[in-house]
């Protein structure tokens, strides 16, 4: 009886893991080029930035801001856990010290850390399938992710709603160690773009802060490109357009 249970458990675990793995594959891919706009909504104002982003696996990313005019030309480079920022106005590249990593990125609800973290939902967490649920008409798997002891993430628990049809995330909830909700992410407008089917609107809503959220819209994507590692260099940080 015990063996059956643990077998069932193992299968359940394995199943959850598989669901998450497929989702991650769909979302991450090996490499990508994306053009997006990010809208930071605050009680007193709303700000919009447009950018281009290249990524290679979990470890390399290069972001170039195209609009508005005063931010145009600002770029960010991520290599592993390190992050650099180039500001054309002063023609300087600055490396982010640890104290800056938890500051918000470009004034949004994402932190520098969020951009850099490169965590794998598959490898860095243990997964558990909780139930099935229908959200906005889409049947989803509800998977609970608990970070492994060494995983450097502040959340104690993350819950994913993953569509059964496409294995794409629809909603993510982040919890702290008291079990309180810290933030929620919504994924909408699933479209085909650049060779994949992905949600093109990402919405990050911090919990408990009135009228505050960040909206990321992917305008264009190309998952077929294959940038080289040396593309993600400090030199390129200043040269990229």
């Amino acid at each position: 009886m015990l063996i059956l249970c643990s077998l069932a458990n193992a299968t359940a675990q394995g199943e959850a893991r598989e669901i998450v793995r497929r989702m991650e594959e769909n979302m991450r891919g090996d490499a990508s080029y994306q053009e997006m706009t990010m809208q930071t909504v605050r009680p007193r104002y709303t700000r919009e930035i447009s950018m281009k982003a290249w990524s290679l696996g979990n470890d390399y990313a290069l972001i170039y801001v195209t609009a508005p005019a005063r931010d145009q030309g600002t770029s960010f480079l991520k290599r592993g856990k390190e992050m650099w920022n180039y500001v054309p106005g002063i023609d300087r590249t600055v490396k982010m010290p640890p104290s800056m990593m938890s500051q918000s990125w470009m004034g949004s609800d994402f932190t520098n850390d969020d951009l850099v973290e490169g965590l794998s939902a598959v490898d860095d967490f243990t997964q558990r399938l909780l139930r099935s649920e229908t959200v906005n008409g889409e049947p989803c798997y509800v998977v609970e992710l608990i970070p492994k002891p060494e995983t450097a993430v502040v959340y104690d628990k993350v819950v994913y709603w993953i569509t059964e049809k496409h294995y794409l995330p629809l909603q993510v909830e982040n919890f702290d160690d008291l079990g309180d909700l810290v933030s929620t992410m919504h994924f909408r407008e699933i479209k085909e773009m650049g060779g994949r089917t992905i949600p093109t609107v990402w919405e990050m809503i911090p919990h408990g802060k009135q009228g505050q959220k960040t909206l990321l819209t992917i305008e264009k994507a190309d998952f077929t490109i294959r940038p080289e590692q040396h593309f993600f260099s400090l030199q390129n940080l200043t040269r990229v357009k």
Binding site: P97, P98, S99, S102, E150, Y155, D156, D176, D177
Partner: protein
């Protein structure tokens, strides 16, 4: 001489109420002085003791560069020789070799700057007795990796508890950024809330593993059996290890030394004021006494008592009053100190907890050196004598013939 003494003594009690009033005044004044100074001294002594025991130890040893820039690369080269010397020194009670890095601690709500102190659990506990300061959870000697011991002030600030997950971010010697998740295994509390907010303890092995380094020591803190050995040992260590910065506790925390000086000044002022009040009361009382007995004085002098004896009589009267009052006050004060000194006073009710910010415990044990009582007695005696002078001199000026007829 004996006669005058007896007369003086009897004179004191001729006006019981007045004498008692004066004696009470002196007693209360001195009792008050003893209490105030006892409490203040207790506070200072306690702070010094806890600061040394819990925070800075008797001697601290660093790489000189570390004091300017606390990067991990400024560690002590080849600490083994130092350890051998310390192990062999008989006056050393214990020491702790720590790996230290400053970094950021993040939870879901907050990120804040902290100092990570990587320790050998046993060594650290022997040096600072930190395990006894743990109010929740366990010390670092339990099973498990990446455990963290944080101060209560910090725990409250970041709203963390035992088993909370936090992320530590810091730099290694090449300024590469390292992030790692840790779990709070315990919460400690010392007498200094500022300390508790900044210092987090973790296993040295865990920290070194994150840094990807072999054994690296940033700081060695030494605790001695007797505080008096500090200077001697510091000097000898400096001589043996000229490349290291060896500092005694008074160099690490100069304000501890200043505290004692401050206390001295305070004591002087408080005593001065109280003794002034006492002195004036004495002068007045004795003057009154002299005036009401002016006829008597005149008579005594007329029948042959020489002036010096009269002078002496006044002095003795004053002295008796003062002695009785002082004895009462000091004795009572001493007893009160003994009683309270055992159990301690909790100052929270009078706002004492606000001082924890600077490292003053809110529960204090009033205490005073015996030498203080001696000093005080001497000061009181001096006061009595000075106070006696005015009425005594007044008496000296009397013309017996006039005095006898005075009203």
């Amino acid at each position: 001489m004996k006669t005058i003494t007896i007369i003086s003594w009897r004179n004191v009690w001729r006006n019981k109420k007045r004498s008692l009033a004066m004696i009470m005044a002196i007693a209360v004044g001195l009792w008050g002085a003893v209490m105030t100074l006892g409490i203040t001294n207790g506070m200072m002594a306690e702070r010094q003791r806890t600061t040394i025991e819990q925070h800075i130890s008797h001697i601290q040893i660093h790489n000189p560069e570390f004091l300017k820039d606390d990067n991990i690369r400024n560690h002590i080269e080849k600490p083994e020789a130092l350890f051998t010397t310390l192990d062999a020194a008989p006056e050393v009670k214990a020491y702790s070799a720590r790996t230290m890095v400053s970094g950021m601690l993040a939870t879901t709500t907050l990120t804040t700057g902290v100092q990570l102190i990587g320790v050998d659990a046993a060594m650290e506990d022997q040096t600072t007795d930190i395990e006894s300061n743990i109010i929740e959870g366990r010390y670092l000697d339990v099973e498990g990796r990446n455990l963290l011991l944080i101060g209560q002030t910090l725990a409250d600030k970041i709203k963390a508890q035992v088993r909370s997950r936090v992320v530590l971010t810091f730099q290694d010697e090449h300024n590469e950024i390292i992030s790692a998740a840790f779990r709070v295994c315990g919460i400690y509390r010392t007498s200094n809330t500022t300390f508790d907010e900044r210092k987090v303890y973790l296993r040295q092995s865990d920290l070194l593993a994150q840094l990807g380094a072999d054994y690296m020591v940033s700081e060695v803190a030494v605790v001695l059996d007797a505080m008096e050995e500090t200077e001697r040992l510091s000097a000898s260590l400096r001589a043996s290890f000229p490349e290291l910065e060896v500092r005694s506790w008074s160099e690490v925390s100069p304000e501890l030394g200043y505290m004692n000086e401050m206390f001295g000044v305070m004591m002087f002022i408080i005593l001065l004021i109280i003794l002034l009040a006492v002195a004036f009361g004495l002068v007045n009382t004795m003057l009154m006494a002299v005036y009401e007995r002016i006829q008597e004085m005149g008579m005594l002098m007329a029948v042959g008592m020489n002036r010096r004896k009269v002078f002496g009589m006044i002095l003795l009267e004053t002295s008796f009053l003062t002695l009785l009052g002082a004895a009462g006050g000091l004795l009572l004060g001493g007893i009160t100190l003994q009683l309270i000194g055992e159990s301690g006073i909790n100052l929270v009710l009078v706002g004492g907890d606000s001082m924890q910010y600077m490292g003053f415990s809110s529960v204090i044990y009033p205490t005073l050196e015996p030498s203080f009582f001696v000093t005080l007695t001497l000061m009181v005696a001096a006061t009595a004598l000075c106070s006696a002078l005015i009425p005594a001199l007044r008496v000296m000026k009397l013309k017996p013939a006039e005095a006898v007829r005075a009203e």
